[in-house]
Amino acid sequence: MKARSARRATRPILYGLMIGMAVFYLLPVYVLLITGLKSFAEVDLQRMWALPTGIHFENFALAYEKLAPHLWNSMRLVIPAALISSMIGSLNGYVFSKWKIRYSNLIFALLLFGMFIPYQAVIIPLVLFMERLGLRGSITGLILVHVVYGIAITSLIFRNYYAGVPTEVLEAGRMDGAGFWGLYRYVVFPLSIPAFVVVLIWQFTQAYNDFLFAVVLTGNRTWPVTVALNNLAGSQIVQWNVQMAGALLTALPTLLVYILLGRYFLRGLMAGALKG
């Protein structure tokens, strides 16, 4: 009883702490939002924290004008990359969890190492290689790169997911005469929807937020939005308010995915720590 009343007394403090922390996390969003909504006349660095007097979309309109082609590039990059990655990951995960292949553990560990390397250790050959293939500067080339360097994480997420599918289910399918593809098509694949959601979200976010590959492998016509935003921010001509609006626009697609499907996003995050 004493413990319970003590708990009740500490509740307000706990809520206070939690709200205080929430303010810290939301502060940048607040600034991005109110700055974006001000009219050009009201924008003033010295009044950064003041609420806008009305709702104006001038900043967003200007930022959108500058970023739109690159947002579009990002979509053309990210959607195919996520789809292809998830198909490959699913098949690899199926093999590595349900089929006995010699040295499969060693092979899998060697694949996984690829997800931790600093890309600075491969980027020079990568650029030379893509140049030789005639893919440097193209979105197609960047899709290929995200798919290849995504093999490790996507296979890992599917493999851990399939480890939870009981072997008996597969054996029953086998009794009915299903082979490798039959088992995948009729048993494993239909069970995979949650893992596909996790992987699609993960690869979408990764490829969308990438900067390093994009900045060395694309040109000003094919820049995805992260590179375009960084250039916008480095420009002396573009006003800070437009930069802020641009930052919010750039954040929007992944933020929406997070708000709608946060649970699945979290699972991808945990998989990255090898925590199934």
Binding site: A22, W99, N105, A109, A121, G179, A273
Partner: protein, 316 residues
């Protein structure tokens, strides 16, 4: 129909139950399915690392490739390079502060959320959403928040401090004299990544059975003692995972620095130097050497962790 799909959890390759047997047709199919991934990784990861290593041992310092063997020249040059010394110092300061802050704040938030307060889901989402955002976006937003202007041009967080009467907190942020400017870049980095440690710790706390907490309470332990002596020791493996994952992110930190520092050498790190010297300066030999050094540093952290993870999994 000889081969049976391996049972989950018995993935040991040395299992004596199936003595060396020729793979069935389905097993050949399985091998064929993963083969493209294996080949792609062999080329894009291991092949390219070998190629980078070769470039790092060459005299290639201009636009045209020059693979003539230079031994360790590039590495020795780096050892004497003042900018690279700044990079290492910055990475050191950044890594230590970033790790300790993320662990402390993550644990704090996880314990807060573990109190089963109302609105838990909402708060958890708020602490975690920055992880979904690009480091470039974070950098752009925080560059304006950490505006160092003073006097009548005061703005950003400094302005907020001034308006709240917290003037002693006003500072120059990342433009503080070296070496401490880099310490302020930890702030946006922690803003973005601390939710990750929170999620790891919260997952760990939730996995501990309520019986254990109940038992501690019955033994007369108060809330603090329960955490201090029962729960936190059980979270140690999670701390290890977090240190390794955040540590390797910290050693590779790149986009955030690019977006905030805008070419300020005082805030340079190896990843940024590598990028600039290779793709702006055409100094491929030096860039490759930095890449290889980064790889070695990360591998020292990651390889034992991978081996440990795979092993403990095989024992399940």
């Amino acid at each position: 129909m000889t081969a049976i799909p391996a049972a989950a959890g018995t993935r040991s390759t040395t299992g004596p139950a199936h003595p060396a047997r020729r793979p069935s047709r389905d097993q050949w199919t399985a091998i064929a399915v993963v083969l493209p991934s294996i080949i792609a990784t062999a080329i894009f990861v291991y092949g390219f690392i070998g190629w980078t290593l070769r470039v790092s041992l060459s005299n290639w310092t201009g636009l045209l490739p020059d693979y003539s063997f230079a031994g360790l020249r590039q590495y020795l040059d780096l050892a004497r390079d003042a900018r690279f010394a700044i990079d290492i110092r910055n990475t050191g300061i950044f890594t230590v502060l970033f790790l300790t802050s993320c662990l402390a704040i993550g644990l704090f938030l996880a314990i807060l959320l573990d109190q089963r307060l109302r609105g838990e889901n909402l708060f958890r989402s708020i602490f975690l959403f920055p992880m979904a955002i690009s480091f470039i976006v974070t950098g752009v937003a925080w560059r304006w928040l950490m505006n160092a202007a003073t006097g009548s041009r005061i703005s950003g967080l400094n302005l907020l401090f001034h308006q709240l009467g917290l003037d002693p907190l006003i500072n120059e942020w990342h433009l503080t004299d070296p070496p401490w400017g880099i310490a302020f870049i930890v702030l946006p980095a922690v803003w973005q990544m601390s939710g990750f440690t929170m999620a790891l710790y919260l997952g760990g706390l939730r996995a501990i059975s309520d019986d254990l907490r109940e038992a501690a309470r019955v033994d007369g332990a108060n809330e603090f003692q329960t955490y201090r002596y029962i729960l936190l020791p059980l979270l140690r493996p999670i701390t290890l995972s977090a240190v390794i994952i955040l540590g390797h992110i910290s050693l590779k930190i790149f986009d955030l620095i690019v977006a905030i520092s805008q070419n300020n050498i005082a805030l340079d790190v190896p990843a940024v130097y590598m990028w600039r010297t290779t793709f702006d300066g055409n100094n491929y030999g030096k860039g490759a050497a930095i890449g290889i050094l980064m790889l070695i540093t990360v591998a020292v952290l990651i390889v034992p962790y991978l081996v440990y993870s795979m092993r403990s999994e095989a024992e399940l």
